[in-house]
């Protein structure tokens, strides 16, 4: 696969797939862009007038937009903190040989296989419900007032649920990274007089840097579009306390039937996601080069 002819042939061969993927991406994007410039409301059928930037103007000046932006960032940031720190912790624990290692590892990884809607429902009804939930029962049993998680700490509760889902992913990636660390390096550091903390800081953490980068990049992409957990538990409320950008787009287009506005929100979300991606790549992409 090195001659000029074979390279040209290779390009020709993969071009259908590339074109298909490109079309797959371009068509919805073009339609969304097109809709975002129309006054297109499903409740008011009729001429869909071209209104220019009006949809963008109203979406951006909507008071819930600012709240949604902040919520999105807090949600992504919070989940990343919990999963990366927790993932490192779990990886360190699971790396040690112990009794029942295989089963414990499977159990740690299990939450990743539960559908977001299902896990959110389980947490909502079986754990966090102030009357029927286990946490409420325990609190009542001990004589405390049960906490209404989604009423009092809505965003924190959602961060918790999403973190619970993503912790296994972080753990898995970091665990495999940790296992690929050459044991002789750790032994050399031990001979060099490094305490456990220093070995962690100077040997393990730098070794994990690349895996942590991967975890942050992949999770950010998925966490920016968190939706099911919010829909199932709080419906974006109370007020706009748990409305993130994705949910706001849903509200505009499918609850208020304003397709134009929803499309404008979608375009803004795309732009924001790209800004975040550029930042992330700049900030930690360096780790991926070496």
């Amino acid at each position: 696969m090195a001659t000029k002819a074979s390279k040209a042939a290779a390009r020709l061969m993969i071009s259908p797939a590339v074109l298909l993927l490109l079309g797959w991406m371009i068509a919805p994007l073009a339609l969304t862009l097109y809709f975002s410039f129309l006054r297109y409301n499903l409740i008011m059928p009729g001429d869909n007038l071209f209104v220019g930037w009006e949809n963008y103007y109203w979406f951006l000046t909507d008071p819930s937009f600012k709240a949604a932006m902040i919520n999105t960032l807090v949600l992504v940031g919070g989940v990343l903190c919990v999963t990366v720190l927790g993932g490192i912790g779990f990886a360190l624990l699971l790396e040690k040989p112990m009794f029942g290692q295989g089963i414990i590892r499977i159990m740690v990884i299990a939450p990743f296989f539960v559908m977001p809607t299902v896990s959110a429902l389980i947490w909502k009804n079986m754990f966090m419900n102030p009357v029927n939930g286990i946490f409420g029962q325990i609190a009542s049993g001990l004589g405390f007032a049960p906490i209404d998680f989604f009423g009092q700490f809505p965003l924190l509760s959602i961060i918790f649920i999403v973190s619970w889902q993503w912790l296994p992913f972080a753990t898995l990636i970091l665990l495999t990274a940790l296992q690929s660390l050459d044991q002789e390096q750790l032994e050399a550091a031990e001979m060099d007089g490094a305490s456990w903390l220093n070995r962690f800081r100077f040997i393990m953490l730098p070794h994990l840097a690349r895996a942590i980068t991967v975890v942050i990049l992949i999770q950010t992409i998925f966490l920016l579009s968190t939706f099911a957990e919010i829909l199932v538990t709080t419906n974006g409320g109370p007020g706009t306390a748990t409305t993130n950008l994705t949910y706001l787009v849903y509200v505009s287009s499918l609850l208020q039937f304003d397709v134009g506005m929803g499309s404008a929100g979608g375009v803004i979300a795309i732009i924001l996601a790209n800004i975040v991606a550029i930042f992330l790549m700049r900030m930690i992409g360096k780790n991926l080069d070496a």
Binding site: Q185, E187, A188, M191, D192, G193, A194, S195, P206
Partner: protein, 334 residues
Amino acid sequence: MGRIQLKQVKKSFGECTVIPPLDLAIEDGEFTVFVGPSGCGKSTLLRLIAGLEDTTSGMIEIDGTNATLLPPAKRGLAMVFQSYALYPHMSVRKNIAFPMKMAGVNEAEQTKRIYAAAKALNLTDYLDRKPGQLSGGQRQRVAIGRAIVREPTAFLFDEPLSNLDAALRVGMRLEISELHKRLKTTMIYVTHDQVEAMTMADKIVVLQAGGIEQVGSPLELYKTPRNRFVAGFIGSPKMNFIEGAEAAQHNAFAIGIRPEHIDVSITHGQWQATVGVAEHLGSDTFLHVHGVPGCDPMTVRGGGDIAVNHGDTVWLTPDPQHIHKFDAEGLRIK
């Protein structure tokens, strides 16, 4: 100072005893080589001394103090690993500085020692490179540099040259020997290569199945091996063993004769044999011959000019002064 004494040191992993109780004394400034076939426990023994493995029972004394329960860092030893175990994300400078940083040596002293070590090991131009950008030999030198700057009481080498190619290995062997002459620090060196052992050691410890077969200077082991295992392991090519009638003439169960102590002639001699493979090295010729009773094939060293090839008949005469006699248990008969 660097006197290391092992007293009844034993190591088992679960049911499996890797090193049965063993005594050994390593004197200050000595270059000691642990040599043995792979899996004989020599690396385990080194790791016990380093403190990377716990002893099952027994005592390790370093400079007269009991170090059995001390953590590796407190034993004052430095180790060079087979894989070099350099820290890949740190530059050479930082790698070498790491043990000093951990020990809290001040910056000025650190810089001084780094440059001293780099100069001694020809690493001055590479201080800012990462280990990944260095060749095998250079990495090896960085690993040694990292060991030197700690100014340890003893150096431990775990098969440090086995990842290098043959030419580099000879060069590094000399460098390590010179380093020992200069520093006069105790060194313990593990290898499976008896050539390394013979060329570098003040004292060789031959190990088999975790037990010590013999301890002595290279020439002692060569001239008076205590048993057949040591006789066969030390020396290259291996000693020939002859059993049966020929050995009985010498009142022994088996006799051993090294390839270099057999005279080769194409006209007359004690044993008649047929040449199988002849390896012409220029300086020497190694002949693998068939037909000597009780030893087949026998390896013989002839001069470089000996003109024999496959299928030729040769006559062999052993040098009677260099015949080693062994009894049925494989022990040397004096």
